[in-house]
Amino acid sequence: MPGNTRIRPGAILLGIYVVLIFAYLVFPVLVIIPLSFSSGKFLTFPPPGFSLRWYANFFGRGEWTGSAWLSIWVGLSVTVMSVLLGTPAAIALVRGRFPGRRLVLAFILSPVIAPGIIVAIGVYFAYAQFGLVGHPFALVLAHVCLAVPFVVINVSTSLQGVDRRIEQAAQSLGATPWATFRQVTLPLIRPGIFAGAVFAFITSFDELLVALFLSGTTAVTLPRRMWEQIRFDIDPTIAAVSTLLITLTSCLLVGTELLRRRTERARTRPLAELAPTDA
């Protein structure tokens, strides 16, 4: 960074402050992990001894694994539907010029900003009239609305980074719009689609409020079961589930970031030669 190498007391204070904030952000997430391996029945720290009993409790009880599988299936269905609906929409929003573009975008993104409880009771009110409460299908239908904005945002961002001249070059060489998309645009926006898919999956997988109203007693997702367990008694089984969730989320995020970097490097190299002034 521009020559600011002198160390001043202000900089030291700022450094300490920042370290404390990072501790506040990360410590609560990390503290769960050792607790999940505790041999004790209570959440004391440090744990009295090492044991895998809470993991055994999770994997050995059909209700927990059943909920986990349900959440995974709902999440995967939501991901597929969100990508199929969101990717073309993002292309139209970035490349197309049509009246009311901003309004359409605001509408598509609104489920993320709208208070969760309003969306939850709204879908509950309507879906209940069709007898959908307690059916996993209802969860998928509602979760897609909450997840699709993340696909649209990530694909849009990715698409804005694609040099339009490459697409124009393909078309001027005789490629049809579909062939241009398949062979030129799609490979370039693949990291955006992948990131959107990951965020869509996490959104559905962690979603609680809609599940509180739509799960009924027959489609109890993992967050819904955790919610009931937490309100009832906070035994270390929740710590084990949380640790599994933290691991899953971290892996997905780091994987997305690595993929993004790799493709970005591969993509910017030829373009940098085209535009050497872009520093």
Binding site: G10, V18, Y24, R95, G96, P115, G122, M226, A239
Partner: protein
Amino acid sequence: MRPGAATTPLVSTELARSLLLVGPLLVYLALFYAYPLLGMLSQSVHQKVWTFAAFAELLNSEVFWRVMAITGRIAVLTTLFCLLLAYPLAFFLARRSRATANLLLILVLIPFWTSILVRTYAWMVLLGRNGIINNALIAFGLIPRPLTMLNTRFAVYVAMVHVLLPFMVLPLYATFSAMDWRLVQAAQGLGARPLAVFRQVLLPLSLPGVSAGCILVFTLAIGFYITPALVGGPSDVMISILISDEVGVLKWPLAAAMAVVLLAVVLALFAAFSRVVRIDKVF
């Protein structure tokens, strides 16, 4: 574009193509999101006949106004605490090299993408009567008996700021990294003291990020449900919890009327927000 311009064939095929691409999503959201929401919201004024009885009941409801006051207060203070923490953090990140900043941003993003339920549970474990913080304080002899931290307003602030902090950090960081730092150097070179540099250069230049972050955090905070329900006490009922309770006893008109009020506030803020920044640039 002028509406009349759509008569040329080239433009109309492009319009048709755009509609074909965005249409399925719009139809989907209309059917499974907008229609259910509007149906529910319409319950506030219409069951069998048109009536404003629910809103009248709301206006006279002492509980509603008390909960609105609590919600507003929690949202304002949460926003303020987030700003106090995020501003120096974003400033610090923007002064690092890109690689370092990206690495540190992952530390911000991992809690961001960790389930709210998991993070709230973590605070319950930390703040509980026999929780980690109380045990540590007693072990060091700092307090004689456990402090009551869980199920208090304090716990609500600690946990909500933790959940919402990334939403403040990200827009602020974006503003700081796009800033022309030569202005700061120029001010320093001309002999301005640190406080003067902050007040006259840094703060005005960062205001778009500040307002974007504040609107975003406030908007999300007033709709909070999970965190106050789990770590708050009986007096920390926020509007979302009240709405859910009314649905629980099947008082749909009242719940819908409250939802209308909450949604109106959120939409107004959302409109203000999209004037400050481009909404697709935030996430």
